[in-house]
């Protein structure tokens, strides 16, 4: 059956659409052909797929072929059911007849003959040539057609249709198309069934010896091709899939035939993945042997063709990638036999072809996002795969220097095995010049310039030493021992190769990249003649590979790409960019960005630093973002170099800082020092656009351990901050500022504090002291650290957790915000009050105590301003004392003892007591007093020029307390910088020692008066009275005309605090000459008291302060004015009101009013006048009273004492009610001399008059 392959191929090539046969019985085809062919392809066709489900196909192409055509005639029907797919799917029998008889006699038998025993799907098209206006002809045609229908159509199936050549034909074409499609469908069903049956049969015979894959292949492919012709691509694809599966099973399970693999033809290196017709089938199918190399590609090509027709380019990619991977493995297993590097070249061409075709067919519409991503990812994979293989080829032929030894390339190349030809290609003769050229290139190629002096071992691009691999393969066939020996020597010498690298330490390995070059030194160049037993040099290997590759490689473009350095780089960039772009589109950002780095490396080499920097930035951002510091450390120096060259100072600085903040192990100290020196150099240079530099990763800071610094409102202080420097060396900071942020408040919460000095940060931990100005109350955390290195401002946001700068910053947890400073809300910090509340002595120098009480706050260095108010002076500013209040508290119970024992000397010595000097109204508190409550004693004297006045005991007039009040204004400046102020005005109460009150206790008949002077002690101190005397005012005198001193035996008289004592003076009145105005001095009596005081200043009044205290008692003198008043009442006459005779008074009733006047005393003045008559006068309201008799007159009254007379006046009350009664007055006698006894009533009740009955006549 394999003989049919050529035919099969030819048939397949020839027929691309289904055939509809036309049996032209009545020679009509030339007339209708055009119209028929116009209707192609069929608009809509409903066909059944392999599973008998209807499928609608649009625009089904077909071809009308006359049965008499050579194409159909030449075929022998049924000869090869294999090729049945090309047979007509329907037969149209074209007839025309205008005569019934003719039909019956000639046409019908002929038609019967045509349709008889024929499995073809046929139907008859009756063409009516009758013109529309020719009724007869039309009728006739109708008759013939109806006859035709009767004869050929059955109930089940209409097999006739009528075509009016000149009539309306729209319905006909629809009818025709449906009939053709119906025929096609039936034929297709039958044929599918047939093929399936055949396939089934063959499958059953699968494991029999007679079974042949080629039969199966032709059957399957025929079926698939048939499906493809009728546009049932899904079914066709399934057939190819099954075919492939079956092939793989056959290949894998039947080891019977040692098949030829293939791949030796010219051009086989180029993948024919998408070109099914690339090679004729006969070329790789011979004698039932399918060359796997071609056949598998052929199957894939057929599948992908169908997939493209199904608009599924993404699936081509998916299938293509796994195909390439598997196929590559297949090629690897045959690598020994295949041409040198065929596998690599094939993979490159296959990938590029798939990329080209899928991109062409992919329009991106109507696919889900996932499919789109997958598609681009696969495109990226293709680019990436071809890139790797391309690099491998380039490396083999000596373009290794152009390949960046980056992690990407190393990962891809160093784990990819070398090509494994049976024998490594030999150096062709006459290539010494090429070898020389290669040597030269190798010697000239400079190792890539390392930036910042970073010395890194280059990553390997070779899986094992090429030198060893090539020589091993070359020699393995000839003199294995010798080559092994020389190889071994070589290995020992250069330490390269698989064995070598595994045995040797990294130090040895470091030389592996450079050693091949030293080995191929110019010394050996002369010996260009290669002998078999001499190991090849690297240059020779490269030249040999190049020549071998040239033989294998049939694609001129690819060869061009490999031929020169420039072309290599161009292609390399194209592939890398393609991969990167597609990975970007597929969201494989890591793959993409890593390739961006490769692109950047090329730009960098070419001096396109701008583009390089852009790409490097992306790479660095990715690595930094996810914390891949090892990878970042590889790329960042390049970025920095780009930025340096581009003069991007800000970028360069930030790169340097990032380099510095990398993990310790990634760079050597020397390298880190270089980074630092770069930063410092730039910082001190004149930058055009100075930008703040973020050094958060390098300089971190935290508060010191322990509780936060606590300050009171308004206080300044110093804050100690730990700063960690990640710089390898000391670094000088021109300034350093730190912001403090208030926690829990959003607004205006940031204050900057400053360390103005130049700071030198050591590597590692530093403690910085910052001055803290007064802050608002609140809790503060550290905010941002800013500062300056040279002209460069920097800032750091990161807190350290007590360790070195944290490089994994992106991972850091929520940082614990520990307050470093707490500023308390305003609160009383100190209190100043008067030490003693009781009164002090007026007009004497007294100690005033001011208790200064710090409230949990140090008063160190504080200053007290003292300002005394009016009428208060500080006496002797040298003598201000301060003492510890606790001493005062302890001492207070035994006041007397301390009073006795205390002296200045021992107070000085006890340390809690000190004398202070008042300067400009202020004193400075001693340091020991900063935390304890102290009392400041001020010697003051309150002056009161007024003389104190005694009061009458009968009507005591208390002195106003305010009179003794004096004011001391105090201002305390305290706090760290005396920023705190405390002001207080203290009232001090001063008073006289005594308050004097007097009263006359008794008076004698002789006019002597006993004057009692009561002394009230006003102070909380014991007063001792030594002497008292009274200077009397005019009008009074002491009885004995003496000085009025009380008996001296009473003195000294001790008066306890707040008690009273009294002294009696006997005085009498003196006659005063009326009208003589006495002196002011003599208007008051003056009481003089000589007294002493013994009191404690801590309780109240005390002995006056004197500088020279010799312990002797001081006598004090107190004066008080007492006003004595002469007696005012001297009654001579007494007027008494006699009671009314009747109980009630009535209006109009006569009333006798009687007053008794009695002489009480015989006055000299009265007697001297001799007048014994008394003038009287009755005073009454005329509205109320009518007085009968004399209202005024003289009555005679004997001048003797006790004589009396009664004055009677008759009155008539005029109004009723309570009225004032008439009053008897004595106009001649002064009021002071009249005594009313018994006194008259104030009001009397007057009743209304009695009712008169005479006017009351009863009715």
């Amino acid at each position: 059956m394999t003989n049919y392959l050529a035919q099969f191929q030819a048939i397949k090539n020839a027929s691309d659409r289904i055939v509809v046969a036309v049996e032209d019985v009545s020679e009509l085809w030339p007339i209708v052909k055009e119209k028929f062919e116009e209707k192609l392809p069929f608009k809509k066709a409903s066909l059944n797929n392999k599973t008998r489900n209807p499928v609608y196909i649009e625009n089904l192409p077909a071809e009308f072929i006359l049965t008499t055509d050579a194409r159909l005639r030449s075929r022998v029907p049924q000869e090869l059911s294999l090729f049945w797919f090309r047979e007509p799917y329907a037969t149209i029998i074209l007839v025309s007849c205008e005569d019934l008889d003719e039909f019956k006699t000639i046409l019908k038998p002929r038609l019967k003959l045509i349709v008889q025993n024929d499995e073809r799907e046929w139907f008859i098209v009756f063409v009516s040539k009758a013109l529309p206006d020719n009724d007869q002809a039309t009728k006739l045609a109708k008759k013939v057609y109806s006859r035709l229908e009767v004869d050929f159509s059955t109930k089940k199936r209409e097999r006739c249709c009528k075509f009016d050549l000149h009539g309306n034909d729209s319905s006909f074409w629809e009818d025709l198309e449906s009939k053709i499609v119906e025929s096609i469908r039936n034929t297709l069903d039958r044929r599918v069934q047939f093929y399936e049956e055949e396939v089934r049969k063959l499958t059953e015979q699968r494991f029999m010896p007679v079974w042949s894959f080629s039969n199966f292949f032709i059957l399957k492919e025929s079926l698939a091709f048939m499906f493809e012709m009728v546009h049932l691509y899904e079914d066709a694809l399934r057939e190819y899939d099954e075919l492939e599966l079956c092939y793989l099973e056959t290949v894998n399970t039947s080891p019977i035939k040692q098949r030829e693999f293939g791949g030796f033809d010219h051009g086989d290196d180029q993948a024919m993945l998408l070109k099914p017709d690339h090679k004729p089938l006969t070329q790789f199918i011979q004698n039932d042997s399918f060359r796997e190399f071609e056949f598998r590609q052929y199957l894939f090509a057929c599948q992908s063709k169908l997939l493209f027709k199904l608009s599924r380019p993404a699936e081509v990619s998916t299938r293509g990638y796994s195909f390439i991977i598997n196929y590559s493995k297949l090629l690897a297993s045959h690598e020994n036999d295949l041409p040198f590097c065929l596998r690599e070249i094939w993979v490159i061409t296959a990938c590029l072809a798939i990329i080209k075709y899928t991109t062409f067919h992919y329009d991106g519409g109507l696919v889900t996002a996932e499919v789109e991503k997958e598609f681009y990812r696969l495109q990226g994979d293709f680019f990436s795969l071809s890139r790797v293989k391309f690099m491998r080829l380039a490396y083999l032929i000596g373009h290794g220097a152009e390949i960046d030894k980056s992690p990407v390339n190393s990962a891809e190349l160093s784990m990819l095995p070398w090509p494994r030809p049976a024998v490594w290609p030999l150096v062709p003769p006459d290539v010494s010049s090429e070898i020389f050229e290669k040597e030269k290139i190798m010697l000239q190629s400079n190792p890539t310039a390392e930036h910042f002096g970073i010395q890194r071992k280059a990553l390997p691009l070779e899986p094992s030493s090429l030198l060893r691999e090539a020589n091993r393969r070359r020699a393995s066939l000839s003199t294995p021992n010798l080559s092994d020996l020389s190889d071994g020597r070589q290995n020992l010498k250069d330490g390269s190769g698989v064995g070598g690298s595994s045995r040797f330490s990294p130090q040895n390995k470091e030389r592996s990249s450079s050693m091949p070059r030293t080995y191929s030194s110019p010394m050996n160049i002369e010996s260009s003649h290669v002998v078999l037993d001499r190991p090849m040099r690297l240059s020779e290997i490269q030249v040999a590979s190049e020549h071998a590759l040239k033989k294998t490689l049939s694609d001129p473009d690819l060869w061009t790409s490999l031929s020169s350095k420039q072309n290599f780089e161009k292609k390399y960039m194209e592939l890398t960019k393609g991969a990167a772009d597609n990975y970007h589109r597929s969201w494989w950002k890591r793959h993409a960005v890593a390739l961006d780095g490769e692109i950047a490396a090329v730009y960098f080499r070419h001096g396109d630093f701008d583009l390089a920097a852009n790409s490097y930035e992306k790479v660095c951002a990715l690595y930094a973002g996810e914390g891949w510091h090892d990878l970042l450390a590889d790329v960042l120096p390049y970025l920095a170099e780009c930025q340096k060259i581009l003069n991007d100072e800000a970028g360069y600085l930030s790169s340097c800082v990032r380099l510095l903040s990398m993990d310790d192990g990634l760079f050597l100290t020397k390298e880190r020092q270089t980074f630092q020196s770069e930063v410092v150099r730039l910082a001190h240079s004149e930058m055009k656009n100075p930008v703040p530099l973020d050094v958060s990763s390098l300089i971190t800071f935290s508060g010191t351990h322990g509780p936060p610094l606590e300050l009171c409102d308004g206080d300044s202080g110093t804050l100690s901050v730990t700063v960690w420097s990640g710089f390898p060396d000391d670094i000088i900071l021109e300034s350093l500022n730190l912001t403090l942020t208030v926690t829990f408040t959003a607004d205006e919460g940031i204050n900057a504090i400053k360390c103005s000095n130049v700071t030198i940060l050591k590597p590692g931990r530093n403690t910085i002291i910052l001055d803290l100005p007064p802050q608002q109350p609140g809790s503060y955390v550290l905010g941002v650290l800013t500062g300056q290195i040279g002209h460069l401002r920097f800032r750091s946001h990161s807190f350290s957790k007590g360790g070195p700068p944290d490089s994994d910053d992106f991972m850091s947890y929520e940082k614990p915000v520990k307050p470093v400073l707490k500023v308390f809300k305003p609160r009383p910090l100190v209190d100043i009050s008067a030490a003693v509340s009781s009164a002090l002595l007026m007009n004497e120098v007294q100690w005033v105590g001011m208790v200064v009480k710090p409230i949990n706050y140090s008063l160190r260095g504080s200053i007290l301003h003292i300002d005394t108010g009016p009428e208060l002076d500080i006496k002797n500013s040298q003598m201000i004392e301060i003492e510890n209040s606790s001493v005062f508290v302890q001492d207070s119970p035994n006041l007397v003892d301390t009073e006795i024992t205390r002296n200045d000397a021992n107070l000085e010595s006890c340390g809690n007591h000190k004398r202070l000097v008042l300067e400009n109204g202020k004193i400075e508190l001693p340091d020991w007093a900063s935390n304890v409550t102290t009392i400041v004693w001020l010697p003051v004297c309150a002056t009161d020029k007024k003389l104190s006045r005694g009061t009458s005991a009968a009507c005591p007039q208390r002195q106003s307390v305010l009179d003794g009040m004096r004011i001391v204004a105090l201002k305390l400046e305290f706090g760290a910088s005396r920023n705190q102020k405390f002001e207080r005005t203290v009232a001090v109460h001063f008073t006289d020692p005594f308050h004097i009150s007097t009263r006359i206790t008794d008076r004698g008949n002789d006019g002597a008066l006993l004057l009692q002077v009561i002394l009230h002690s006003q102070v909380k101190a014991t007063l001792t009275i030594y002497d008292v005397w009274l200077d009397l005012q005019e009008g009074f005198e002491h009885i004995h005309k003496d000085s009025g001193r009380p008996s001296s035996s009473f003195f000294p008289l001790v008066i306890s605090p707040s008690s009273r004592a009294s002294i009696l003076f006997s005085i009498c009145l003196t006659n005063m000459v009326p009208g003589v105005v006495s002196d002011a001095l003599q208007s008051d009596s003056i009481l003089n008291i000589k007294y002493g005081i013994s009191g404690e200043r801590t309780t109240g009044a005390h002995e006056p302060v004197s500088e020279s205290s010799d312990g002797s008692k001081v006598e004090l003198h107190f004066k008080s004015a007492i006003f004595l008043q002469r007696p005012v009442l001297d009654p001579c006459l007494a007027v008494g009101f006699l009671p009314f005779p009747s109980d009630c008074l009535r209006v109009g009733q006569l009333v006798r009013m009687e007053w008794r006047v009695e002489r009480l005393k015989e006055t000299e003045s009265l007697s001297s006048t001799g007048n014994d008559e008394v003038l009287y006068e009755v005073d009454a309201s005329s509205e109320n009273w009518m007085i009968a008799g004399r209202k005024r007159g003289h009555v005679s009254l004997c001048s003797k004492r006790g004589s009396r007379i009664v004055v009677t006046v008759t009155c008539i009350p005029l109004v009723s009610g309570y009225v004032h009664p008439p009053h008897l007055g004595l106009p001649d006698v002064g009021k002071a001399n009249i005594r009313c006894n018994p006194p008259g009533p104030h009001l009397v009740c007057v009743l209304p008059p009695m009712l008169s009955s005479s006017y009351c006549v009863p009715i």
């Binding site: 990962a411 990294p506 891949w628 992106f810």
Partner: protein, 143 residues
């Protein structure tokens, strides 16, 4: 031959990477591990398409290249384990088993009270334990 194992944190940051090659070329392994995160991301985002069961930690073969294979494993806490092997044939069951042991070792390592979660694992005993697990797997696959 197992080339490298790695632990990757939740934020895709490397927590631990140990290579088992004799050569000093960890950087390329860093690259491979880093790139494999693309595949893990994709698998995790499209579990249905990738055909992983929801509760399955083992992600299977992440991507095969001609020269090495990368396997992945995702813990419940989104910590990833990566295994790079140069063996042409590794059974899934072996890889799964390896990762299970790896996971246990990891849990032990991070249970150390001195380990800061999310920071690099510096434990030498973890490293030793891993080496023994790797050696075990190596002996299984070579047998």
């Amino acid at each position: 031959m197992i080339v490298c194992v790695a632990v990757i944190g939740q934020q895709n940051n490397p927590l631990f990477l140990q290579s088992f090659t004799q050569e000093d070329d960890d950087l390329k392994l860093h690259h491979i591990v880093h790139c494999s995160l693309d595949v893990i991301d994709e698998r995790v985002n499209n579990p249905k398409r990738s055909g992983i069961a929801v509760n399955e930690a083992f992600l299977g073969l992440l991507y095969p290249t001609e020269s090495y294979k990368v396997y992945g494993y995702l813990t419940n806490t989104k910590v990833k384990f990566i295994l790079i092997t140069a063996d042409p044939e590794v059974r899934d069951a072996d890889a799964r088993n390896f990762f299970r042991k790896f996971h246990v070792a990891y849990v032990d390592a991070v249970s150390n009270p001195f380990h800061v979660p999310g920071k690099k694992i510096t434990s030498t005993s973890f490293s030793r334990k891993l080496r023994s697990i790797v050696d075990n797997l190596g002996s299984i696959t070579t047998v």
